[in-house]
Amino acid sequence: MTDQRVHFYQVGSFAVGNRLLSPDDRTVQSQRDRTNSIDSGHRACQGCGEALGARYALDAAMRATNGRVVAVNATGCLEVFSTPYPETSWRIPWLHSLFGNAPAVATGVAAALRVKGKGDVRVVAQAGDGGTVDIGFGALSGMFERNDDVLFICYDNEGYMNTGVQRSAATPPAARTATTDAVGPEPGNIFGTGKDLPRIAMAHDIPYVATATVADLHDLERKVERAMAMHGARYLHVLVPCPLGWGSASNDTIHIARLAKESGLFPVFEAEHGKVTSVSTIRRRVPVEQYLSLQRRYGHLFGSNARPDIVARIQAIADENIARYALIDDATESQEMSA
Amino acid sequence: MFQIRLHGRGGQGVVTAAEILSVAAFAEGRHAQAFPSFGSERTGAPVVSFCRIDDREIRTREPVMEPNAIIIQDATLVHQVDLFAGLVHDGYALVNTSRDFAELGFDHTLMSFRHDRFMTCPATEFALEHLGRPLPNAALLGGFAALTGQISIEAIDTAVKERFEGSVGERNAAAAAAAYAFVVSKMKELTRASSD
């Protein structure tokens, strides 16, 4: 007979915690004394992925630094829903300046901490995809190039949600936004060449670049912890579904993030000094259709005027990601795609 | 107030020369103001700088419109620039050349000014001799001191050494002294010639 080692804890590393896991293996989020860096009472939409991602990331950073974190925030949903006068939801030192300057502000904060002899206090800057890949891009690249001691986190919800769901450079092809309407022969966003910020970040050869989603907390926390153990410019790109902008059910936020990863549309990996060091392989591969069909922003691809041709082009993007990052290992490959 | 305009080409140190001149005046306890013609000229382009020297505070910020003296670092500029524009009728001119004014074709211009205040000086040669590089600034300032008497050669010596540290300063100062001596002797010749 074959003995199986007892390393399996019912939910393993998939759930937030488990009484059976050793304390070291539990997430920060499973702890009753987690910081709750962004506290209750914020005005995010029901089921907001960004609120979740921000708490995940910052609580992990707080744990990793023993509570020595200051945060810089770009303008955007996160900023607006967390700090409307007279209330703030932040429990950590937090500074908001402008939409496009969070990386530079963070540089300034880090410089001040260094000169003040408070090198143990660490800086986390955060922005949405607009503040990262569009308006804050120059400042971010500068921060990377100087290798300033900042962890920059992009909460990517693939559009300008704060202003009413307009297209950003992170909006995926075919997605409907207020500025890429689902009309005409090529409905929704164009099939451009994409602006893959994690890879652009890697091209700066900065110490650490990683992607994550709100669907895999252990992975996300591990990456924040890894990032906080390093110095210099670090970049974390977190996919955070937006029920409002994506037209998804408020309870589907995590589910959709998971499908983004499992379909291959959002590759989850980490890289050090410009080289990929690990990828999160696909566990239960799904066709992109499963991911797309839960979101009204892709509604025009299905139903009476279905556009299987466009879905196929999106599938090709996923396939390309899978090939590029080797997202399928042998174990997964043997499982059939459940179509 | 004594106002000087310096002509040169980008890279020849025409702005530095004005600065050194102002520092020399400052060293003598006078008020001085040096400034470039503000532009974006690149290496080789004609460049102008200015210096004012006075015993009172200098308040004006206008460019030097009517210089009391001009220093020309590069005689070839004559074809591009109106080098003597605004020069007061009894103004000084010091031209870096080993040729004379006739050879340069300046005779016509000379007509309207005082001949004894127009002087050529092979400053580049002095520079090559003392520095080993064709940078005629310090030598021209030495010549200027001799020609105008507006500043002492000692002050030029101090300012040059303040600007350039160590042996570079020493050698520039030596070039300035040589040019000074050259101009002094040339002026004596002129005086002799005119008194003859």
Binding site: V70, V72, N73, E79, S82, T83, P84, Y85, P86, T88, W90, I92, P93, W94, L95, H96, S97, L98, G100, N101, P103, A104, V105, A106, T107, G108, V109, A110, A111, A112, L113, V115, K116, V121, G138, A139, S141, G142, E145, R146 | E19, S22, V23, A25, F26, A27, H31, A32, Q33, A34, F35, P36, F38, S40, I58, R59, T60, R61, E62, P63
Partner: protein
């Protein structure tokens, strides 16, 4: 110690004496010499406990300063012209957040057409940005104003912009008395921030404020600028006690006591104006000068009392509001609003056009004869303007004016050369 020194260098050395902790730099003429010199001092170890950060834009420069200031570091940067406009969002933000950043503005024109030379368009473009704006008349004052600026900024938690005429001052070499470290330290205490990012006392800085409190926030900023009007002369007096120098303050008057005509101006042009006034005075004309050192907050009371006895006020400005006229003039007029006076605006020195003493004298002569139009552009080439207007009238696609004017001018010059030959 009194030294013959370039203006930029004097500013840089004085800023270094103020012990800045974070300095961010992005090059733009004519500010570069300042930032280069500070950088060299940090790199060589002359200026310690200072982070010098080469950023990728002026927007980043001001943003880094914002982050640093909010973290309790004394922060400094410098810019000019297009650079100021590129950072302008952050300029407003710094004052909105009440961060006592000090910035040197090496005044320069704003394009297009691109122009690197001096005027005051840049400073005027951000006069409503919530910063205190001080204008230096000489390089001595430029240096001194920086020491005062840090003190003022930090006392009031308001950023201060020290405006220094680009090239005319920044690149001029003249005598400047540079303070010693002990004097600066005695004058300028260490920075005690009013708010700071501190892990032991966390706060959220930069909240979104809605209609329910925004007006109050703005009114408080207004009150702080009013406070500055009190503090600026006091600080200048303290500075005078320390140095014996008359730097800073709200305004500076020159021969105004019996003046019928008073010229009001900002910055370095005041020296040339004073020379011209002296000459006219020698001719028996009763002319004086008022220099505005503190442009924001605008010292209305001081201006009003300085001009109380003038018959005619000539505001000479290096900037103008295109669709209207004088900018400074408006502020002066508002200050004198219920008084009986004639106000003339003279726009001069745009884009580095030299303001000569002779032109000023001519202007004063006209003023003396009440010949000055209410809005005059000094030394304007009326012929060139008329030719271009004619061209625009007759040719639909008449091309870019700047290039047309230059072409006309080159043609004129070569004609002149031919004539001369």
């Amino acid at each position: 110690m009194l030294r013959q020194i370039e203006g930029s260098r004097a500013i840089a050395e004085t800023v270094a004496l103020c012990r800045p902790e974070v300095v961010c730099a992005y090059p733009i003429s004519p500010q570069t010499h300042i930032i280069e010199a500070v950088g060299a001092m940090v790199k060589s170890g002359v200026l310690t406990s200072c982070e010098f950060i080469n950023v990728e834009s002026e927007f980043a420069a001001m943003s880094v300063a914002i982050g640093a200031s909010a973290t309790g570091a004394r922060s400094y940067t410098a810019t000019a012209s297009q650079g100021l406009l590129f950072m302008v969002e952050a300029v407003f933000n710094a004052s909105g957040l009440g961060l006592p950043i000090v910035m040197t503005l090496a005044n320069r024109a704003i394009g297009a057409p691109i122009n690197i030379w001096n005027d005051h368009s840049d400073a005027m473009a951000v006069r409503d940005a919530g910063w205190i704006q001080l204008f230096a008349e000489t390089n001595q004052e430029a240096a001194d104003l920086h020491v005062q600026a840090f003190k003022l900024a930090e006392e009031l938690s308001v950023p201060v912009m020290v405006c220094v005429d680009g090239f005319i001052l920044t690149h001029a070499v003249e005598g400047v008395d540079i303070l010693d470290q002990a004097s600066v330290d005695s004058f300028l205490p260490p920075y005690e921030p009013r708010q700071v990012l501190d892990v032991d006392e966390p706060v959220s800085i930069g909240a979104m404020v809605g209609p329910e409190a925004f007006e109050e926030v703005r009114y408080l900023a207004y009150l702080r600028q009013r406070d500055a009007l009190e503090r600026i002369p006091e600080i200048a007096r303290t500075f005078n006690d320390l140095t014996g120098r008359d730097s800073g303050g709200l305004i500076r008057t020159y021969r105004t006591d019996d003046a019928e005509i008073v010229v009001v101006a900002l910055g370095s042009v005041l020296g040339t104006i004073k020379d011209a006034v002296d000459i006219r005075r020698d001719l028996g004309e009763r002319i004086g000068v008022v220099g505005i050192t503190t442009f924001r907050p605008f010292p209305s009371e001081a201006v009003r009392s300085a001009l109380a006895n003038a018959r005619q006020v000539v505001v000479l400005e290096k900037a103008f509001s295109t669709g209207f006229g004088g900018v400074l003039s408006t502020d002066v007029a508002m200050s004198l609003r219920d008084m009986d006076f004639d106000l003339r605006t003279v726009v001069a020195g745009l884009g580095g056009r030299a303001i000569t003493r002779r032109s000023i004298e001519e202007m004063l002569e006209k003023a003396q004869h009440d010949d000055l139009e209410s809005l005059t552009f000094l030394d304007l080439d009326q012929g060139a303007v008329e030719r271009e207007r004619e061209r625009m009238r007759t040719v639909r696609r008449s091309g870019p004016s700047a290039e047309n004017l230059l072409r006309d001018r080159t043609a004129d010059l070569s004609k002149a050369v031919r004539r001369g030959a």
